[in-house]
Protein backbone atom coordinates (compact mmCIF):
# COMPACT_ATOMS: atom_id res chain seq x y z
CA UNK A 1 0.00 0.00 0.00
CA UNK A 2 2.54 2.58 1.15
CA UNK A 3 5.11 1.18 -1.29
CA UNK A 4 3.43 3.14 -4.09
CA UNK A 5 4.89 6.35 -2.67
CA UNK A 6 8.45 6.71 -3.99
CA UNK A 7 9.97 7.85 -0.69
CA UNK A 8 8.61 4.78 1.06
CA UNK A 9 9.68 2.51 -1.75
CA UNK A 10 13.22 3.82 -1.55
CA UNK A 11 13.55 3.52 2.22
CA UNK A 12 11.85 0.12 2.10
CA UNK A 13 14.41 -1.14 -0.43
CA UNK A 14 17.22 0.40 1.60
CA UNK A 15 16.10 -1.37 4.78
CA UNK A 16 15.69 -4.65 2.89
CA UNK A 17 19.18 -4.27 1.49
CA UNK A 18 20.56 -3.65 4.99
CA UNK A 19 18.75 -6.75 6.29
CA UNK A 20 20.06 -8.96 3.48
CA UNK A 21 23.60 -7.68 3.93
CA UNK A 22 23.39 -8.16 7.69
CA UNK A 23 22.50 -11.84 7.11
CA UNK A 24 25.55 -12.24 4.86
CA UNK A 25 27.85 -10.55 7.39
CA UNK A 26 26.49 -12.78 10.18
CA UNK A 27 27.14 -15.84 8.03
CA UNK A 28 30.73 -14.75 7.37
CA UNK A 29 31.28 -14.18 11.09
CA UNK A 30 29.91 -17.61 11.96
CA UNK A 31 32.29 -19.16 9.43
CA UNK A 32 35.32 -17.19 10.61
CA UNK A 33 37.10 -20.45 11.52
CA UNK A 34 35.67 -22.87 8.93
CA UNK A 35 38.44 -24.24 6.68
CA UNK A 36 37.94 -23.53 2.98
CA UNK A 37 35.12 -21.00 3.46
CA UNK A 38 35.12 -18.04 1.05
CA UNK A 39 33.76 -14.73 2.40
CA UNK A 40 30.63 -13.41 0.68
CA UNK A 41 29.33 -9.88 0.31
CA UNK A 42 26.44 -7.94 -1.23
CA UNK A 43 27.27 -4.81 -3.23
CA UNK A 44 26.60 -1.56 -1.32
CA UNK A 45 23.22 0.09 -1.70
CA UNK A 46 24.58 2.97 -3.80
CA UNK A 47 25.70 0.46 -6.43
CA UNK A 48 22.18 -1.02 -6.53
CA UNK A 49 20.70 2.45 -6.83
CA UNK A 50 22.93 3.33 -9.78
CA UNK A 51 22.28 0.00 -11.52
CA UNK A 52 18.50 0.50 -11.21
CA UNK A 53 16.39 3.34 -12.61
CA UNK A 54 17.99 5.80 -10.18
CA UNK A 55 16.30 9.18 -10.01
CA UNK A 56 15.38 9.44 -13.70
CA UNK A 57 11.73 10.21 -14.55
CA UNK A 58 9.64 7.13 -14.38
CA UNK A 59 6.11 6.12 -15.26
CA UNK A 60 4.02 5.21 -12.26
CA UNK A 61 0.81 4.43 -14.15
CA UNK A 62 0.13 3.16 -17.67
CA UNK A 63 -1.11 6.57 -18.91
CA UNK A 64 2.27 8.27 -18.46
CA UNK A 65 4.23 9.03 -21.62
CA UNK A 66 7.85 8.94 -20.49
CA UNK A 67 9.78 6.32 -18.62
CA UNK A 68 8.98 2.69 -18.11
CA UNK A 69 6.89 1.15 -15.38
CA UNK A 70 9.00 0.07 -12.42
CA UNK A 71 9.33 -3.69 -12.31
CA UNK A 72 9.60 -5.96 -9.33
CA UNK A 73 11.81 -5.01 -6.41
CA UNK A 74 15.44 -5.96 -7.08
CA UNK A 75 16.91 -9.00 -5.37
CA UNK A 76 20.20 -8.83 -3.52
CA UNK A 77 22.46 -11.73 -4.46
CA UNK A 78 25.53 -12.40 -2.32
CA UNK A 79 28.74 -12.81 -4.32
CA UNK A 80 31.98 -14.43 -3.25
CA UNK A 81 34.54 -11.78 -2.38
CA UNK A 82 37.49 -12.73 -4.61
CA UNK A 83 39.78 -9.90 -3.54
CA UNK A 84 40.00 -11.19 0.04
CA UNK A 85 43.28 -12.78 1.13
CA UNK A 86 43.03 -16.43 2.09
CA UNK A 87 44.45 -18.02 5.22
CA UNK A 88 46.58 -21.16 4.88
CA UNK A 89 43.45 -23.25 5.57
CA UNK A 90 41.56 -21.65 2.66
CA UNK A 91 39.39 -19.34 4.78
CA UNK A 92 39.06 -15.77 3.52
CA UNK A 93 37.00 -14.14 6.32
CA UNK A 94 38.60 -11.13 8.02
CA UNK A 95 36.86 -10.35 11.30
CA UNK A 96 37.97 -6.71 11.14
CA UNK A 97 36.44 -5.97 7.75
CA UNK A 98 33.28 -7.87 8.72
CA UNK A 99 32.97 -5.67 11.82
CA UNK A 100 33.28 -2.62 9.59
CA UNK A 101 30.59 -3.93 7.25
CA UNK A 102 28.37 -4.73 10.21
CA UNK A 103 28.56 -1.15 11.48
CA UNK A 104 27.93 0.18 7.97
CA UNK A 105 24.86 -2.05 7.64
CA UNK A 106 23.42 -1.05 11.00
CA UNK A 107 23.85 2.65 10.22
CA UNK A 108 22.21 2.20 6.85
CA UNK A 109 19.28 0.41 8.47
CA UNK A 110 18.83 3.14 11.05
CA UNK A 111 18.94 5.75 8.31
CA UNK A 112 16.31 3.92 6.26
CA UNK A 113 14.02 3.60 9.28
CA UNK A 114 14.45 7.30 10.12
CA UNK A 115 13.46 8.26 6.57
CA UNK A 116 10.46 5.94 6.74
CA UNK A 117 9.39 7.33 10.09
CA UNK A 118 9.62 10.95 9.00
CA UNK A 119 7.58 10.06 5.89
CA UNK A 120 4.96 8.53 8.15
CA UNK A 121 4.93 11.71 10.24
CA UNK A 122 4.21 13.74 7.09
CA UNK A 123 1.33 11.44 6.26
CA UNK A 124 -0.01 11.68 9.81
CA UNK A 125 0.15 15.47 9.66
CA UNK A 126 -1.73 15.34 6.35
CA UNK A 127 -4.62 13.43 7.89
CA UNK A 128 -4.72 15.88 10.77
CA UNK A 129 -3.33 13.71 13.54
CA UNK A 130 -0.17 14.95 15.12
Amino acid sequence: MLEEIDLFRLSHTMARHAGARQAVVAQNMAHADTPGYAARDIAPFSAHLEAGPGFAPRATRPGHLNGSLAGALPGFEPRIDRAAVRDPNGNSVSLESEMLRGVEVSRQHNRALAIYRSGLNVLRAAIGRN
Binding site: Q22, A23, V25, A30, A32, D33, T34, V105, L113
Partner: protein, 129 residues
Protein backbone atom coordinates in the same frame (compact mmCIF):
# COMPACT_ATOMS: atom_id res chain seq x y z
CA UNK B 1 11.86 -10.51 8.65
CA UNK B 2 13.11 -13.86 7.37
CA UNK B 3 16.52 -12.30 6.75
CA UNK B 4 16.78 -11.43 10.42
CA UNK B 5 15.66 -14.81 11.70
CA UNK B 6 18.16 -16.35 9.29
CA UNK B 7 20.93 -14.08 10.61
CA UNK B 8 19.98 -14.96 14.20
CA UNK B 9 20.07 -18.72 13.58
CA UNK B 10 23.40 -18.47 11.72
CA UNK B 11 24.93 -16.43 14.54
CA UNK B 12 23.65 -18.82 17.19
CA UNK B 13 25.11 -21.78 15.28
CA UNK B 14 28.46 -19.94 15.28
CA UNK B 15 28.17 -19.38 19.04
CA UNK B 16 27.41 -23.06 19.60
CA UNK B 17 30.33 -24.20 17.46
CA UNK B 18 32.81 -21.92 19.22
CA UNK B 19 31.51 -23.03 22.62
CA UNK B 20 32.07 -26.67 21.72
CA UNK B 21 35.58 -25.85 20.53
CA UNK B 22 36.26 -24.15 23.85
CA UNK B 23 34.99 -27.26 25.64
CA UNK B 24 37.50 -29.45 23.82
CA UNK B 25 40.26 -27.00 24.66
CA UNK B 26 39.27 -27.29 28.32
CA UNK B 27 39.33 -31.10 28.09
CA UNK B 28 42.79 -31.00 26.55
CA UNK B 29 44.16 -28.68 29.22
CA UNK B 30 42.61 -30.75 32.01
CA UNK B 31 44.27 -33.88 30.59
CA UNK B 32 47.67 -32.29 29.93
CA UNK B 33 49.27 -34.63 32.48
CA UNK B 34 47.28 -37.79 31.71
CA UNK B 35 49.65 -40.50 30.42
CA UNK B 36 48.88 -41.55 26.84
CA UNK B 37 46.28 -38.78 26.24
CA UNK B 38 46.04 -37.46 22.67
CA UNK B 39 44.66 -33.98 22.24
CA UNK B 40 41.22 -33.67 20.63
CA UNK B 41 40.67 -31.34 17.69
CA UNK B 42 37.52 -30.41 15.79
CA UNK B 43 37.23 -28.69 12.42
CA UNK B 44 34.18 -26.63 11.51
CA UNK B 45 32.05 -27.46 8.48
CA UNK B 46 29.43 -25.52 6.55
CA UNK B 47 25.97 -27.08 6.87
CA UNK B 48 24.18 -28.08 3.65
CA UNK B 49 20.94 -26.83 2.13
CA UNK B 50 17.46 -26.46 3.64
CA UNK B 51 16.62 -24.43 6.72
CA UNK B 52 20.13 -25.05 8.03
CA UNK B 53 21.80 -23.46 4.98
CA UNK B 54 24.63 -21.14 5.87
CA UNK B 55 24.97 -22.32 9.45
CA UNK B 56 28.22 -23.71 10.81
CA UNK B 57 28.54 -27.15 12.39
CA UNK B 58 31.40 -28.60 14.42
CA UNK B 59 32.81 -31.57 12.52
CA UNK B 60 33.71 -34.96 14.04
CA UNK B 61 36.21 -35.03 16.90
CA UNK B 62 39.67 -36.17 15.76
CA UNK B 63 42.66 -37.17 17.84
CA UNK B 64 45.98 -35.46 17.23
CA UNK B 65 48.36 -38.03 15.69
CA UNK B 66 51.47 -36.17 16.82
CA UNK B 67 54.04 -38.07 18.88
CA UNK B 68 53.38 -38.44 22.60
CA UNK B 69 55.93 -36.85 24.88
CA UNK B 70 58.46 -39.10 26.58
CA UNK B 71 58.70 -38.42 30.29
CA UNK B 72 61.63 -39.77 32.32
CA UNK B 73 60.47 -40.97 35.72
CA UNK B 74 61.74 -44.40 36.79
CA UNK B 75 59.47 -44.34 39.87
CA UNK B 76 56.32 -44.06 37.75
CA UNK B 77 54.20 -47.26 37.64
CA UNK B 78 53.94 -47.02 33.81
CA UNK B 79 57.69 -46.55 33.26
CA UNK B 80 59.35 -49.06 30.93
CA UNK B 81 62.83 -50.61 31.25
CA UNK B 82 64.59 -47.34 30.36
CA UNK B 83 62.62 -45.38 32.95
CA UNK B 84 60.44 -43.49 30.42
CA UNK B 85 56.66 -43.42 30.09
CA UNK B 86 54.43 -41.84 27.47
CA UNK B 87 52.80 -38.59 28.53
CA UNK B 88 50.18 -36.61 26.58
CA UNK B 89 50.81 -34.65 23.39
CA UNK B 90 49.02 -31.53 24.70
CA UNK B 91 50.96 -28.31 24.18
CA UNK B 92 49.60 -25.74 26.61
CA UNK B 93 50.74 -22.83 24.45
CA UNK B 94 48.73 -24.10 21.46
CA UNK B 95 45.68 -24.69 23.64
CA UNK B 96 45.84 -21.18 25.07
CA UNK B 97 46.09 -19.69 21.57
CA UNK B 98 43.16 -21.83 20.43
CA UNK B 99 41.08 -20.75 23.43
CA UNK B 100 41.85 -17.10 22.73
CA UNK B 101 40.84 -17.45 19.09
CA UNK B 102 37.61 -19.21 20.05
CA UNK B 103 36.80 -16.42 22.49
CA UNK B 104 37.43 -13.75 19.87
CA UNK B 105 35.17 -15.47 17.35
CA UNK B 106 32.52 -16.03 20.03
CA UNK B 107 32.44 -12.31 20.83
CA UNK B 108 32.20 -11.42 17.15
CA UNK B 109 29.23 -13.76 16.71
CA UNK B 110 27.58 -12.38 19.82
CA UNK B 111 27.97 -8.86 18.46
CA UNK B 112 26.31 -9.84 15.19
CA UNK B 113 23.48 -11.49 17.11
CA UNK B 114 22.88 -8.34 19.16
CA UNK B 115 23.01 -6.18 16.08
CA UNK B 116 20.45 -8.27 14.17
CA UNK B 117 18.19 -8.12 17.23
CA UNK B 118 18.52 -4.35 17.50
CA UNK B 119 17.74 -3.93 13.82
CA UNK B 120 14.60 -6.02 14.03
CA UNK B 121 13.45 -4.26 17.19
CA UNK B 122 14.01 -0.95 15.39
CA UNK B 123 11.59 -2.19 12.73
CA UNK B 124 9.07 -3.06 15.42
CA UNK B 125 9.40 0.45 16.85
CA UNK B 126 7.95 1.80 13.61
CA UNK B 127 4.61 0.29 14.58
CA UNK B 128 4.59 2.21 17.83
CA UNK B 129 3.44 5.79 17.95
Amino acid sequence: MSEFSNALSVSSSGLRAQAQRLRHVAENIANADTPGYRRKTIAFEAAGAGTEAGTVMPGPVRLDRGPLSEVYDPAHPLADATGHYEGSNVNLMIEMADAREAQRSYEANLKMFTQAREMSSGLMDLLRR
